[in-house]
Amino acid sequence: MDIVTPGFRGRARDSSQHLPPGQYLVHDFPVLSAGPTPYVDTDEWAFTVTTETGERRTWSWRDLMALPQETPTVDLHCVTKWSKLATTWRGVSLDVLLEDVESAADFVLARSYGGYTTNLPLEDLLDGQAWIVHEFDGEPLAPAHGGPARLLVPHLYLWKSAKWVNGLDLLTDDEPGFWEQLGYHEYGDPWREQRYAGD
């Protein structure tokens, strides 16, 4: 039984707003990151998938733009408690990027410009669940929000959607990323409220 705080009523309940436990709705787009914003020119941008055997496949910005584009509309859930509903993005499905990559890996470590990393099971990036996105709300993705391109894995807490992504390492053994080494949950399912290690 939760402890009731006398006098606390909270906002009006709106049963139509179905949010994961402990989340509240925002209408702006907060920015959270562990360090300064890297500024990456699209001329220099590259995205590299490295398999467990060391095989590498690299896409330039032009390569990325030439691939089939999707425009997912998804809800975002940040571990710091805010949720933002029905956000629209444009980018390339990981199903497309990983289609011709030969791998028996079960895990992925996503890497970013600036040194950020986060780990996920490979299956969470497939079957229409994840994208490399480069537009938000019809505009090029701003650097503060991870531009020129970020990973988008909306069914997990937003720290898994690595900003400034520049590669995926496909791994046989799971390897914790930046926040996962600092006490945050390995998997990060907002509907099971997996915020911190052990949740």
Binding site: I3, V4, F8, R11, Y24, G35, P36, T37, G183, G198
Partner: protein
């Protein structure tokens, strides 16, 4: 590695202190609190009588003092939680607390490196925990807090900061104003910019632990300026409010 779950703990308001016209420090008693590092934060959960509950994160304002933790809460206009915590929560009332959270934006008393702390508004809270941790541990590591506020009445911990900078050898505190400077101030009110920082911060940037905390626009402007001054982007730790 098996890590035990960070469980919710019952906390009780022990005392409150006004820090500014719109900010209050809450002193909470939390039996069994496991301890924390300066810079970490906690999750607070409030539950209403009908079972509705909501959570927010707040930075810890003081170093580890056993079962007593301090949070400084800035009232967010139209906020669901902060006005209640700051104005309505009464001494003796319970809330739930979970933490400590965050292992990146932390200062440890044993760290000998120079530490540069840059605060925008209520972003001073976790940095004040570092100033206090330095004082209580007797650390001699050089520390410089640059604290940007709108007006003189917005300064949290004003008296204590004056005392600390007078008495703590190696601690420097610089308050800069963005909207209204105190009478007689040499620096006219304006947002902290690269020219200010060039004049204020250590020019030799290697080996400086840098912590920047505040609203996103402040954190972006300050960290971009530090990078342009030669600070290593990888050594700048940031925490943003929204």
């Amino acid at each position: 590695m098996v890590q035990s779950r960070l469980g919710w703990r019952r906390a009780q308001l022990v005392a409150r202190r006004d820090e500014s016209p719109t900010a209050v420090t809450l002193v909470l008693g939390v039996p069994g609190w496991p301890g924390h590092l300066a810079g970490q934060h906690v999750d607070v959960r409030l539950t209403a009588a009908d079972g509705y509950s909501t959570q927010r994160s707040y930075s810890l304002a003081a170093p580890d003092h056993g079962a007593r933790v301090e949070l400084t809460v800035q009232v967010v206009t139209d906020g669901e939680v902060s006005p209640f915590l700051a104005r309505d929560l009464a001494v003796g009332d319970p809330v739930e607390l979970r933490g400590p959270v965050g292992g990146w934006f932390v200062w440890r008393p044993g760290q000998p490196q120079r530490a540069l702390l840059l605060a925008g508004g209520s972003g001073v809270v976790p940095l004040m925990a570092m100033v206090r941790a330095r004082h209580e541990s007797g650390s001699a590591a050089p520390m410089h807090l640059v604290y940007s506020v709108r007006t003189p009445t917005d300064v949290f911990y004003a008296e204590e900061l004056r005392q600390r900078s007078d008495q703590d050898y190696g601690l420097r505190v610089t308050v800069v104003h963005t909207r209204e400077a105190p009478a007689g101030a040499e620096r006219a009110a304006h947002r902290l910019d690269a020219a200010d920082l060039a004049a204020l911060v250590w020019p030799e940037a290697d080996d400086v632990l840098t912590f920047v905390c505040g609203p996103t626009a402040f954190v972006d402007a300050v960290s971009d300026a530090l990078v342009s001054l030669g600070y290593d982007a990888g050594a700048i730790r940031t925490e943003r409010y929204g």
